[in-house]
Each structure stands twice: as structure tokens, then as C-alpha cells.
């Protein structure tokens, strides 16, 4: 079977928030691409060839060139397809967007993992940390429509996939995101009105079901 030298392919995993960032960015730009679902417990030769260093998804393959790491991919997409820019044009504003996307990267997934994996005091600490992280993000959002201001931007793309995990975080951590961070919940709803987001994210109950599978795998509970 001949593989297309040109064209766009995304190697991904259905529930991955990192993969969803790429799907959202491609959709915002109106780029047609081939979606390839990977089985993370049985990685394809294509994935291992495209990302030999990390062997992880997402990987964007464009004109035969693989690009790895979700925020590197999103920036690449933004630079190649210049319509509907995700990053602002001012260098300081761009720096702020990169900073907050990096903040999401460093904090949310790791803390979320602790929330479902751990019990007792460690889980309680994860809960406190998650609330603090979400409040910081809410502070940055303020009364803006999006993190990008009036336009949906880089930080929105970086963070919105995790909104599908709020229900799971709440359930594992026994807290309410709406109660702690109402502006974030409102922001997530606004983002879901965008087709790029609603078509990329999964139902929070499905996500929580997936977390249930992970818990079984790791012998939690």
C-alpha cells in the first residue's frame, strides 16, 4: 500500500487530551487530515517509526515529516496554516500564551493522575493542588470570553480538552469544579459551542469510564 507523501495524518488515541489539542487546532484551521487511532498497548510500526524517541501519541505527519509533542504540533499547525491564528501577533502576548499553555502542560495531567491513582492523604493533597491549579487558571481567564481574549486561542486549545476530565476529577477528588471555579465551567461551555471543540472532545462520563479502566489496570480501589 502506497503511503501518501503529501497530506496530513494524525496518530492519536481517542480520549487523549494531548491528541485532542491537535484535532481542535486542525479543525480551527479547516485542515483535512487522516485520523489514525493507535492502540497504546500494541503500538503500530508507523507510530514507532514516526516517534522513535518517545513512542507516544499524538504525532502529526505532514508531507512525510513527523512532528511530536502536542504543543509543538499545535505551534507547527499555527505556523503552516496562517488562517485563524491561535497565537496573537504581539511578542509579549505570545509569551503570556506560551507561559499559560506550559502551565497547563506541567500541572493538570500530573495532578489529575494523582487524583485518580492515589488514596487517603496523598489524594487529599492532589485535590487541594487541583483546586489551586484551576483557580490560578480561572484568575488568568478573568472575565474574558476566552483565554485568548475575544478570539479562541493557544491557551484555550491547550486547556479545553481537560474540561472533559473535570467530571472525573470531581468524582475522584470529591469536589465541584463549578463551585470552586464557575468562570472556568462557563468558559468550557462557550468552547463547546465551537464545532472544533465539540467534535473533538468526548462525553465526560465516557472519560470517567476510561479512568475506571485505568484504575483497574493499576489495581487502584
Amino acid at each position: 500500500m502506497a503511503t501518501a507523501a503529501k497530506g496530513v495524518v494524525l496518530l492519536d488515541f481517542w480520549v487523549s487530551p494531548f491528541g485532542q489539542r491537535c484535532r481542535i487546532a486542525l479543525a480551527e484551521k479547516g485542515v483535512e487530515y487522516e485520523y489514525k487511532e493507535e492502540n497504546l498497548w500494541d503500538k503500530s510500526p508507523l507510530l514507532l517509526k514516526a516517534n522513535p524517541v518517545h513512542k507516544k501519541i499524538p504525532v502529526l505527519i505532514h508531507e512525510g515529516n513527523p512532528i511530536c509533542e502536542s504543543l509543538v504540533i499545535v505551534q507547527y499547525i499555527d505556523e503552516v496554516w496562517s488562517n485563524n491564528p491561535l497565537l496573537p501577533s504581539d511578542p509579549y502576548e505570545r509569551a503570556q500564551a506560551r507561559f499559560w499553555a506550559d502551565f497547563v502542560d506541567k500541572k493538570i495531567y500530573e495532578c489529575g493522575t494523582r487524583l485518580w491513582k492515589l488514596k487517603g492523604e496523598a489524594q487529599e493533597e492532589a485535590r487541594k493542588d487541583m483546586i489551586e491549579i484551576l483557580k490560578l487558571l480561572e484568575g488568568e481567564l478573568g472575565d474574558k470570553k476566552y483565554f485568548g481574549g475575544e478570539t479562541f486561542g493557544f491557551v484555550d486549545v491547550a486547556f479545553v480538552p481537560f474540561s472533559a476530565w473535570f467530571y472525573s476529577y470531581e468524582t475522584c477528588g470529591n469536589f465541584s469544579v463549578e463551585k470552586e471555579c464557575p468562570k472556568l465551567v462557563a468558559w468550557a461551555k462557550r468552547c463547546m459551542e465551537r464545532e472544533s471543540v465539540s467534535k473533538s472532545l468526548h462525553d465526560p462520563h465516557k472519560v470517567h469510564e476510561f479512568v475506571g479502566h485505568l484504575k483497574k489496570m493499576y489495581g487502584v480501589e
Binding site: 509543538v72 507547527y76 511578542p91 509579549y92 505570545r94 509569551a95 506560551r98 507561559f99 506550559d102
Partner: protein, 226 residues
């Protein structure tokens, strides 16, 4: 006297601060360096980086930027001479990818090796060596990670040049030898010889003492455990 429009908050030994010094030097940007005491953080640091409270922080015309990669990209976009990132989007993605690899994979594996003992040390050495092989593979045939001239990935990985040599001296073990890592060895020399790079290296004797002390402290806390 007019206040400098560019300030860099940092510490004398931080490899993350060092990469900013290199970038500013390459661009010919004058700045005030403010030495921070991380055990006793200044009101200035807390004001300019309230989220992470870490260095480096760049302050330009009163506005602060934190996180070393974010700062590097800001510097490249604000001062256009001697571009650090290439123009081609794919090459830019590669530069960003290898910088992340250096910080998220190689640096922790190197550090783990440095502070481990016994069985854990053996495991850590395997991991660090694997990462070195990956870097060697990426560099093969090139003078710099960026190609013919020094760029974003080189600046991000540049901490390897002075820090790994220090760790090697303390551990009495050569990690990046010419035989196994010819491209990396050549790159270390090319990078070091590039104008402006070496003068920014922190004082080596002071670094040796600092890392020796750190290592001993780690060994002391794990003594009796493996």
C-alpha cells in the same frame, strides 16, 4: 542614571538562566543581571513570577516573562538579529522538540545518575546513556543541532557542555567520550568555541564545590537505603 530596560533575574549557577544569558549576548542586548537568593526569594522575584516563583525571569520595559523557553522565543521575536529559531516551520518544530527532550528526558536522567547509588545507579546510567545515544543520533553529521550555526536547540542543550564535564569530574567517570559519541563531543567543542558562549560559563571551581556538596547531601539522606 536611566534604569536598564532589560533585567534578568537569575542565579549564578542555573543552567536555565545561562541559556538566557547566551541568547541576550547573541542578540547584543544589554541588560541588568539581578542575582536572586532562592532560599530567601526577593519581593521582586515574587512580583515578577508569582505563579512559579522561579528563575529565570526576564523583565522588559516593566513586563515580566517567565519559563526559559518562553523567554527564548520572546527574545527571538523581539530582537531580530542573529535569529535563534530557523524560519521553516518543520525545522522550528524540531528545535522545540529537541529542547523539550533535553529538559524533560536527558536532564532528569543525568541528574538521577549523578545522585544515585548502588543498583539504582546502574539503572540510571543505562537510561542516561540511552538518551545520549538519541542525541548523538540526532546530531550526526551536523555541526550544531541547528545546522551550520548555533540555534535554539543548541542554546537549550548547551548546559550539557559545562555541566556534564563537571559531573564527570566529580564522579571520576567519562560519560561523553569521543569514541562512543563523536558528534556530541565535536558539538561540545563547537558550542564552547562559539563567540560569547564560554565567557558566560559560571565559575567552574564554585560549581564543582556546589555539585559535590549537593551529591554528598543526597548520599547522606539515602544512606542505609538502596
Amino acid at each position: 542614571m536611566a534604569e536598564a530596560e532589560v533585567k534578568l533575574l537569575g542565579t549564578w549557577s542555573s543552567p536555565f538562566v545561562l541559556r538566557i544569558k547566551w541568547a541576550l549576548k547573541l542578540k547584543g542586548v544589554e541588560y541588568d543581571f539581578i542575582e536572586e537568593d532562592l532560599q530567601n526569594k526577593s519581593p521582586l522575584l515574587l512580583k515578577y513570577n508569582p505563579v512559579h516563583k522561579k528563575v529565570p525571569v526576564l523583565v522588559h520595559d516593566g513586563k515580566s516573562i517567565a519559563e526559559s523557553y518562553v523567554i527564548l522565543e520572546y527574545i527571538d521575536e523581539t530582537w531580530k538579529e542573529n535569529p535563534i529559531l530557523p524560519e521553516d516551520p518543520y525545522q522550528r518544530a524540531m528545535a522545540r522538540f529537541w529542547s523539550k527532550f533535553g529538559d524533560e528526558k536527558f536532564l532528569p536522567s543525568m541528574w538521577k545518575f549523578f545522585i544515585s547509588q548502588g543498583e539504582k545507579r546502574e539503572e540510571a546510567l543505562v537510561s542516561a546513556s540511552e538518551n545520549l545515544k538519541i542525541l548523538e543520533g540526532e546530531l550526526k553529521g551536523k555541526k550544531f543541532f541547528n545546522g551550520e550555526t548555533l540555534g535554539f536547540a543548541d542554546i537549550s542543550l548547551g548546559w550539557i557542555v559545562d555541566t556534564v564535564s563537571l559531573l564527570e569530574e566529580i564522579m571520576e567517570l567519562k560519560m561523553i567520550d569521543e569514541q562512543r559519541y563523536p558528534s556530541l563531543s565535536a558539538w561540545m567543542k563547537n558550542f564552547s568555541d562559539f563567540p560569547g558562549i564560554k565567557d558566560s560559563f559560571p565559575p567552574q571551581e564554585r560549581m564543582l564545590t556546589k555539585y559535590r556538596t549537593l551529591r554528598e547531601a543526597y548520599f547522606a539522606t539515602t544512606r542505609g537505603t538502596n
